[in-house]
């Protein structure tokens, strides 16, 4: 599932998921699943200590059930943040599933979403996993922010490709994404030499893509929030800033 599943709109995906158009509803639900499946999977692995195959099944089943029963449509922004509400739904879902474990055979759920579990598992092994005993909200929130930023990155990549700005994006990817934990991160001057550009051009390209990235993150937060207040709260919590 790609970031393209998100409707290119500043309106909330949640509005679409509760709207009257069944096609738009299904598309919006899929978009929400795209943003939340990775946090859900990681949360199941760490918090519920589910083995990888169990976590995969539970993730698939959870979203299959959510789509089938139009779970997202029942969300009330006035009562909780979507993120918190979804985690509560997930906890309830797992509890019910574990109660019924004796009666149900594992793996019976439908596989509706093409989700990259192998990739998620690889990431879990590659990086320091968060403490499973940590605050469940914090754990879920961290994986959620990872998901939002990954989606924003994909969105910026797609936009840069469409606008023929592959070099600026390549610079951004090398310096700001791959370079973040690379002890040999190139300097602006080295990047300029590698791409045959003046250093000032590298600075300008990076500044431009960073702006696009920030814009994409804020867009995603807006789309994934149930209300303007929630959007602002999420932006403040995630970025520490008041969005414009």
């Amino acid at each position: 599932m790609s970031a393209g599943a998100f409707p290119e709109t500043r309106h909330s995906v949640l509005a679409a998921v509760r709207g009257g158009d069944p096609q738009a509803r299904a598309r919006a639900a899929e978009a929400l699943a795209a943003a939340y499946w990775r946090p859900v999977y990681t949360y199941l692995r760490l918090r519920w200590r589910a083995a990888p195959p169990d976590a995969e099944d539970l993730t698939q089943d959870f979203f299959a059930r959510a789509l089938e029963r139009e779970l997202f449509a029942r969300y009330d922004p006035a009562r909780a943040r979507l993120r918190t509400w979804l985690r509560t739904c997930l906890d309830r879902f797992v509890l019910n599933r574990r109660k019924a474990e004796g009666r149900l055979k594992r793996g019976g759920g439908a596989r509706l979403l093409p989700l990259d579990f192998a990739g998620a598992e690889g990431e879990l092994l590659r990086h320091d996993p968060p403490d499973p005993a940590a605050d469940p909200d914090a754990l879920f929130a961290r994986e959620w922010s990872r998901s939002v930023f990954s989606l924003a990155l994909e969105r910026v990549r797609a936009r840069c490709a469409a606008a023929g700005k592959t070099v600026p994006f390549a610079l951004f990817e090398r310096y700001d994404v791959a370079g973040a934990d690379d002890p040999d991160r190139p300097t602006y001057a080295e990047l300029a030499a590698a791409h045959g550009l003046p250093v000032t051009q590298v600075t300008n390209h990076l500044a431009a893509v960073r702006r696009l990235f920030r814009q994409a993150v804020l867009e995603l937060l807006r789309e994934l929030s149930g209300s303007d207040a929630e959007y602002r709260a999420e932006a403040r919590e995630l970025l520490g800033v008041d969005p414009p």
């Binding site: 599932m1 790609s2 970031a3 990775r38 990259d116 990739g119 998620a120 690889g122 990431e123 590659r126 990086h127 320091d128 922010s145 990872r146 930023f149 990954s150 989606l151 924003a152 990155l153 994909e154 700001d176 994404v177 791959a178 973040a180 934990d181 600075t203 500044a207 431009a208 960073r210 702006r211 990235f213 920030r214 993150v217 804020l218 403040r236 995630l238 970025l239 520490g240 800033v241 008041d242 414009p244």
Partner: protein
């Protein structure tokens, strides 16, 4: 979609948190990379579009906490008050497009004192130490106690110029608004962090500061930190008991036992450099002889050589 590492996640979070300083909104400064981050603020290299130069812009990492806002604004005000070549000058202050307060200062290029000192001769280190003392003494004269002096907060430039940085926990004593040159005896507590809060760095923090005895923190608290810095600069170099006594007096546990003013400490270090007796140490006859020998080494050797020659001549004459 590839997963992001924790480091990439944190870096991207900072990038997304940066205000939209470029282009839209007409904000004067274009933020570039982050060059430092501390408990209180984030420092960015920024481009001043109006004057076409690079500057350092310090802003709070997030809005909200009024205590931090006050501290940042207070630091800017204190820096503006300290017009000295050894204090980084403030150019501008205000609020970022996202509302966070900031101030702009000169972008300092140089090395931290501890890194700079590696491999340098003791005398050179001490001369630089004296240049650290100058802005601190200047600040004291204007009623400002730094309270967080340490090698990490001292930058040495390519030409040996010294800048004392990070006045974020400095304390301002009451002064007349129109006469920044004279400090009075009372202390302003507005802007002070909560009474008794410990701010500073272990190893360089005076005992009274570590114990949170805010009322006892004064110029001698900075003298203690300077003593600890001096001790660090002497490490690994033969220096004798006199200089060790200077550092020990500066970093004495009780404020009353320390130098009363930075100028007194600096004077003793200067005396040591000049081969003169220091006030912190009563020297023995042997030490005095050794010091005088080091101070007058060339004339002493010349006289000795002359006397030796005379003795040899006398011996030759007698034998002849």
């Amino acid at each position: 979609m590839s997963g992001l590492s924790d480091a990439a996640l944190e870096h991207l979070r900072r990038l997304a948190a940066e205000p939209e300083a470029d282009g839209e909104g007409g904000f004067r400064y274009a933020l570039r990379e982050e060059v430092g981050r501390g408990g209180m603020g984030v420092v960015y290299r920024a481009r001043d579009r109006e004057l076409g130069r690079d500057v350092a812009l310090k802003a709070l990492p997030a809005p909200a906490d009024p205590a931090l806002v006050e501290r940042l604004q207070r630091e800017a005000r204190i820096l503006a008050r300290l017009d000295h070549p050894g204090v980084v000058p403030v150019h501008d202050a205000g609020a970022l497009p996202d509302g966070r307060p900031f101030y702009v200062m000169k972008l300092v290029r140089g090395e931290r004192l501890d890194a700079w000192a590696r491999g340098r001769a003791l005398a050179e280190r001490l001369r630089t130490f004296l240049r650290v003392c100058e802005p601190v003494a200047f600040a004291h004269a204007r009623g400002v106690v730094h309270r967080d002096l340490k090698p990490q907060n001292v930058m040495v430039g390519a030409f040996g110029e010294v800048l004392v940085m990070d006045w974020g926990v400095a304390r301002l004593r009451a002064v007349a608004e129109d006469d920044p040159g004279v400090a009075t005896s009372s202390t302003i507590h507005a802007g002070e962090t909560a009474h008794g809060t410990v701010l500073g760095t272990p190893g360089f923090m005076a005992p009274e500061q570590a114990r949170g005895e805010v009322h006892r923190v004064d110029e001698r608290t900075d003298v203690f930190a300077l003593g600890a810095i001096l001790r660090g600069l002497m490490a690994g170099e033969p220096h004798g008991r006199a200089l060790a006594a200077v550092a020990a007096k500066a970093a004495a546990p009780e404020p009353e036992a320390r130098y009363a003013a930075v100028a007194d400490l600096a004077a003793d270090v200067q005396r040591w450099l000049d081969g003169e007796p220091v006030s912190a140490h009563r020297e023995s006859v042997a030490e005095r002889a050794g010091r005088l020998y080091r101070r007058y080494q060339t004339p002493v050797l010349l006289v000795l050589a002359y006397l030796l020659m005379r003795v040899l001549l006398l011996l030759f004459q007698r034998d002849g």
